[in-house]
């Protein structure tokens, strides 16, 4: 089949093509291209500012239980009080009917929780969408039975962060989540086991940037810490170690090297590990 078709000829009968909303052959009537976009001029008048220029609503999103395809009954000032009351009743019924099942209701709750988590952790929008999708798959795989909704919301965010290489520690998520750490872990284990999440070990380098800004160390120290991580990976030091602990160890080592004031306790605290963990990793790292 030829890739480029002549605009003027019909592919069946070589007749004349006519372009409008759809391109069709004027001889045999074959529809060559469908284009729902109206490319004609805009006939509506906007000169008095009152008309809304929009033709469409917001794009579809997986981050809403109805994918953003909701209907709302609006309000108007110039209605009789009788009609206004009727609309208020309709609105109430509509709001009740909007969520049809218990699963739907749970999804609404979990999605707002995910949204809250994502905003307070300062994560990008794409993480939110993916976390919502993950939650939905967990729900359809019937993983939620007997486990907490809040835990699953937090675990979805945790899992998506991990797969998107912007890892957060369990502690960081549990701090802002409504779920306890145990709930989060139980939910994450279930997700990982049943859905086969594509997660490997966390790269300690993912933590460096955040810890560095929390510890307020200079850029040079941060860059050196990244080198330490690479070195540690080559020497196999990260195997079997807590990645966040190793990340903060590298920062600590880089800070010591640059004579930057940083105590083991401070460094250990941002990663949620004990100074002992940091110390043993540190000695392994600097030992040549």
């Amino acid at each position: 089949m030829s890739q480029v078709q002549s605009k003027a000829a019909c592919p069946e009968c070589s007749g004349r093509l006519e372009a409008g909303e759809e391109t069709f052959c004027s001889d045999c009537g074959l529809v060559v291209a469908e284009d729902y976009l109206d490319r004609g001029p805009e006939w509506r008048s906007f000169s008095d500012d009152s008309e809304n220029r929009e033709r469409t609503g917001a794009p579809l999103t997986r981050a809403r239980h109805d994918r953003g395809l909701s209907t709302e009954i609006g309000r108007s000032r110039d209605l009789s009080s009788k009609k206004r009351r009727r609309l208020a009743r309709m609105r109430r019924q509509h709001n009740r009917a909007r969520i049809s099942s218990k699963a739907d209701r749970n999804r609404v709750y979990a999605f707002t929780e995910i949204r809250r988590l994502v905003s307070s952790l300062g994560l990008p929008q794409s993480i939110r969408d993916q976390a919502c999708v993950l939650f939905e798959s967990a729900q359809s795989a019937d993983l939620l039975r007997g486990r907490s909704l809040e835990g699953f919301a937090a675990a979805s965010v945790y899992a998506v962060c991990r797969t998107a290489a912007v890892s957060r520690t369990v502690g960081e998520i549990a701090d802002v989540a409504r779920a306890s750490e145990a709930e989060l872990k139980a939910a994450y284990d279930a997700l990982n086991r049943e859905l086969g999440l594509p997660t490997g070990p966390i790269d300690p380098a993912e933590y460096i940037g955040r810890f560095a800004s929390q510890l307020d160390v200079p850029k040079t120290v941060e860059a050196r810490a990244r080198e330490f991580v690479t070195e540690g990976r080559e020497r196999g030091l990260i195997n079997g170690r807590n990645p966040s602990g190793f990340a903060t160890t590298c920062l600590y080592a880089a800070a010591i090297e640059a004579d930057h004031d940083l105590t083991q306790r401070e460094a250990a605290d941002v990663a949620g590990v004990t100074p002992v963990t940091l110390r043993t990793a540190y000695y392994d790292l600097i030992e040549e």
Binding site: D48, D49, Y109, R168, V176, A177, G209, S213
Partner: protein, 521 residues
């Protein structure tokens, strides 16, 4: 003064970044105390928890609000200072985190009130004006500015939202809280109307007092459909006797004559009767008890709200409202008797300019209300699911952020106004300066409004007489005169009143304990 001298004076005048000075002053005032005032007005977030039997009520107390300087948070969680040029190049928003102290309190019914959790939490991000006090480049020398990629000659005074520079158009509104007398026509007859846009805390209520064709006074205000007899409403406000009403309106014999006609036509004689009549109007078909409650609520909430003051009982303000209505009545009668001319709406004394800080304040107020609604919802959900209530887990910071950024990005302000924020005109340097010093009248450009477009004598020294666009916006879009100085809001009204009374301004006689009202505001 010859030309060289004048040039020297101008040069001196503009040597210290005075071009966008009005934007800076206004926005800095908003950051310094405007935001805190909005939060203090809000005071608490109440929840429905505790409505059920055997449950203790829960509410949130709002404390100090604090803005830091703009910073950016990367996907990996690291946070660093953001400079305007980086925001422009990366198409991100030049905004600073806002923190607020919040305290969740439970109890009050059977248990004692106790604090469940208290914390300062991040409630969202506030777009920051380039060059304002909270801007990261504030106080930088020219060399430092060049170092971070900033133009030392750039006047600032705009916001950066999603990488585009947006300036908030100064808008020229009719002065609130002032009596304006004018003629109107009803079914072909000329009538006299006294108008007041009463404004307090972002709530704006138009109160009308009109003298109808029979010479009777009628008052109308929001939440009451149609109008109410003047005598009824002042009696409801506690000004009962005929003599007092007449005396409060005017001592002029001809006005007294008009007033007596009104009193004769009055159908209520006492305060209680008047409130009842009002109740029948605002809650017709409801129970008597409810009607009284509703009437009192309407009086305290919707009638002349600007007369209310912090720390003064609603009951005490009522008599002030009655006096204010009497002054409006006087204005109507004087107009009818040709004792005065109708007020000139285009006179610059009757105009107020809303600069970026005032606009941001309106925005912040609605954003905070939205946040409060969300916190209420989150608290109720968390409580229903038996979760521990903590400040950190009930605040969704993107709610406030979105409400603040979206209007600046699109220009669709709260209250349905559009085109409030505009893309900074970077055609050339003069274009930027002119754009920052531009102001817009909210009047529709599709209607003639000849008087509003005309150059008014009071614009002398304030508005440039020649710089205005041609076409439909002619005379509605104006520009500041070169050396115009914009006086800003009085921060503390109580202070102003004390100052005025120390200078010998007397309050209304025979009401003691009630704070003195200034002449106009």
């Amino acid at each position: 003064m010859n030309r060289a001298d004048r040039r020297e004076v101008s040069r001196q005048y503009f040597s210290k970044e005075r071009l966008a000075e009005h934007h800076f002053r206004s926005f800095n005032a908003f950051l310094d105390y405007g935001m805190q005032e909005v939060v203090t007005e809000k005071e608490t977030i109440d929840t429905d928890i505790g409505d059920k039997e055997g449950q203790e009520p829960v509410w949130v107390e709002l404390g100090d609000v604090r803005v830091v300087t703009p910073r950016v948070r990367e996907a990996d969680g690291s946070e660093e200072l953001l400079y305007p040029q980086e925001a422009r190049l990366r198409n991100i928003t030049y905004s600073a985190p806002v923190f607020m102290e919040m305290t969740i309190v439970r109890g009050g019914e059977e248990e004692e009130e106790h604090v469940v959790d208290t914390a300062e939490t991040k409630i969202g991000r506030m777009p920051v004006m380039v060059g304002s006090r909270k801007c990261n480049i504030a106080g930088f020398s020219d060399e430092e500015l060049v170092e971070i990629g900033e133009d030392p000659a750039d006047p600032g005074g705009y916001f950066i939202v999603n990488g585009s520079e947006r300036v908030l158009m100064t808008s020229e509104d009719l002065a609130p809280n002032k009596i304006l007398a004018e003629y109107d026509s009803r079914y072909g007859d000329e009538i006299q109307v006294a108008k007041t846009f009463s404004q307090r805390r972002g709530y704006r209520a138009l109160v009308l007092c009109e003298r109808n064709r029979e010479g009777l006074l009628e008052v109308s205000f929001p939440s009451v459909s149609g109008s109410i007899n003047f005598v009824t409403i002042v009696r409801a406000l506690g000004l009962e006797s005929d003599e007092e009403i007449v005396h409060r309106v005017s001592d002029d014999p001809e006005v007294v004559k008009f007033m007596l006609e009104n009193l004769e036509a009055a159908d209520v004689q006492s305060e209680a009767e008047a409130i009842q009549t009002l109740g029948e109007r605002v809650a017709s078909g409801q129970g008597r008890q409810y009607q009284l409650k509703r009437a009192n609520y309407v009086i305290d909430r919707y009638l002349l709200p600007h007369l209310h003051e912090e720390g003064i009982d609603d009951e005490d303000v009522r008599i002030n409202k009655a006096y204010y209505l009497c002054r409006m009545a006087e204005a109507c009668f004087e107009l009818a008797l040709n004792r005065r001319q109708p007020d000139d709406k285009d006179h610059y004394a009757n105009k107020r300019l809303k600069v970026s800080g005032d606009l941001m304040r309106d925005l912040f107020r609605t954003a905070l209300n939205k946040l409060a609604r969300d916190v209420k919802y989150q608290l109720e959900r968390a409580n229903m699911r038996n979760r521990r209530l903590s400040v950190n887990t009930v605040v969704r910071s993107d709610v406030l952020t979105e409400r603040l950024e979206h209007p600046i990005a699109t220009g669709n302000w709260v209250g349905g106004r559009s085109g409030v924020s505009q893309l900074v005109d970077r055609t050339d340097f003069m274009g930027v300066l002119s754009h920052l010093r531009r102001l817009r009248s909210p009047l529709s450009r599709s209607q003639p409004h000849f008087e509003a477009r005309d150059l008014h004598a009071t614009q002398w020294g304030r508005i440039c007489p020649s710089e205005t666009p041609e076409g439909p916006n002619c005379g509605l879009v104006k520009n500041f005169a070169q050396a115009m100085e914009l006086s800003q809001n009085v921060g503390d009204e109580q202070e102003l009143k004390r100052e005025l009374s120390s200078m010998g301004v007397e309050g209304i006689a025979d009401i003691e304990g009630v704070a003195h009202r200034t002449a106009d505001d």
